[in-house]
Symmetry: C2
């Protein structure tokens, strides 16, 4: 079943110790859409300026992403600049030019309104609520957000949270949202706010999925080479929700697999600059990475006599 | 088979958001020894001053720890003070009084010299080398160290590393030791320095074990309550090496189980102040925690058709 994503489409300038890119295809909805496109049909709603390169549009279309909801308006495309040192968990935002994204008013095209799965990437909670008002009874809705909205628009954020099935945020955001330093307690509080699933992303250190059925954790896969972690979190969301949308399965076992597919897409994303790896994956690479997580984490018990 | 541990025995003053303890039983050799004592016989070599409470000695003996190598000398016991805020991954050392530990010269008692397993807790690499000179062909030797020795005594440290089977250090220390920010590459370099196993401890975010056979990773178990993480790394080492010593198995599967027993003992340690939980565990609690790691991390593949 298809998934609708609403969020940023951007041009990124990224610098890492391994090189740099200027005007690279980026934005949360783009990373999410590319990652999810290996699992199911993707419909994208966002906004770009007239400066947005046709080549980027073509690339998204080539992955089967339906761009009927991508508004092209006067003004410039959202531009973001980021710089990484050798500690990839820390990054410096060098600039943010919102451009056309500043006035983004999501318009869900008629034929997307009954799409059964919806991902609201990190935008103003008011816009996220607005999108939920435009779609008709989706089976699964999911949300990303950030510290900025947790601090500035807590009430609107709670209102969206009460209406979604899944929340995907990072470690420190989860603790901040719940005002609780112990992650397990923070997760329990967040699940009380509405979502039935909470995915806590920890960057290089993996992810943890909390639901009423229990906890599932995946460690970070130590990669041979990390080129550019930009978009890894949104790629995780694309793999996670793409799998759930494609399988139509929300059992505890499916949530575990979704977490692994999320980790798979997030880790593959880091192995090249920008979206360069995500645009051209072979399904076998995805399955191989999934199996690599199994080899990384599985173990068997063998009886041993412990001393009392 | 028994394991010999050489390292610090201390009196700790610890303060966390949940309370405080003064003069609590602490030190690397103590945490290690208590954790390992559930798996195998432990022999401890260290030093304390005459101020060291007899109750602490009794407690160690009650866990079957052989204290024949614990020197009691004039002067004060090593005292350490630490303070934690809500971010347990960061701590402030409030004071360090080395006392008798400053002049520590490990003397391995005659009957410990053929002990088949040896753990050199974090002390000066020169002393670690000295211990290796006193023992006779152990089957398994393991080492802990820290940034202080990596920076100040790199040559002596390399000399010890060339002679041990396992190194257990934290994430940033591994990167620093190898002068390599990518963990997987850092691990490969460290394995070239001598050890056949490298365990990278990540605190709340789990651990990764590297060996020539492959990589095994365990995520952090989200605990309901974290009271005091002091000693968690040494407790990890006690569970890891205690299991290997007890099982006499160094197969890839055994290394995986050892990593889980390490995580088990490290996580149990955090659930009470100081050594309070480690001194009085029921073997069933250890086995239950081991199984909890299995429920936390295991998943099954289910076929899904991915889009090329």
């Amino acid at each position: 079943m298809p998934i609708l994503v609403v969020g940023s489409v951007a041009l990124d300038d990224v610098e890492t110790p391994f090189g740099q890119r200027k005007g690279a295809l980026g934005g949360a909805a783009v990373y999410f859409g590319l990652a999810a496109s290996y699992f199911t049909e993707v419909q994208l709603v966002g906004v770009v300026g007239r400066d947005f390169p046709a080549g980027h549009l073509e690339l998204l279309s080539s992955r089967g992403i339906d761009l009927a909801g991508l508004q092209v308006v006067d003004g410039e495309t959202f531009r973001w600049g980021g710089k990484y040192g050798y500690d990839f968990n820390a990054r410096e935002t060098t600039f943010t030019h919102l451009g056309a994204f500043a006035g983004f008013q999501p318009q869900i095209p008629e034929r997307f309104r009954q799409t059964p799965n919806v991902f609201l990437a990190n935008i103003h909670p008011r816009l996220q609520l607005d999108v939920l008002g435009q779609v008709e009874r989706p089976q699964m809705t999911a949300l990303d957000t950030m510290n900025y909205w947790i601090e500035r628009t807590p009430e609107e954020l709670r209102e969206v949270l009460a209406r979604v099935d899944a929340l995907l945020i990072n470690d420190s955001e989860a603790r901040q949202l719940a005002s609780e330093p112990v992650l397990r307690k923070a997760a329990a509080r967040i699940l009380e706010l509405g979502p039935e699933m909470l995915v806590v992303k920890k960057g290089e250190d993996g992810a943890v999925t909390f639901s009423r059925e229990g906890i599932f954790a995946v460690p970070g896969l130590p990669l041979d080479s990390i080129i550019d972690p930009t978009g890894a979190g949104d790629s995780f969301a694309g793999g996670f929700l793409g799998y759930l949308a494609a399988s139509g399965d929300r059992s505890p076992e499916a949530l575990r697999r979704a977490t692994i597919y999320g980790s798979t897409m997030g880790s593959l994303c880091c192995e090249a600059f920008s979206t360069e790896k995500l645009v051209d994956l072979d399904p076998h690479e995805i399955e191989d990475r999934f199996q690599e997580y199994k080899r990384l984490t599985h173990f068997e018990h063998a009886p041993i006599l412990l001393n009392a």
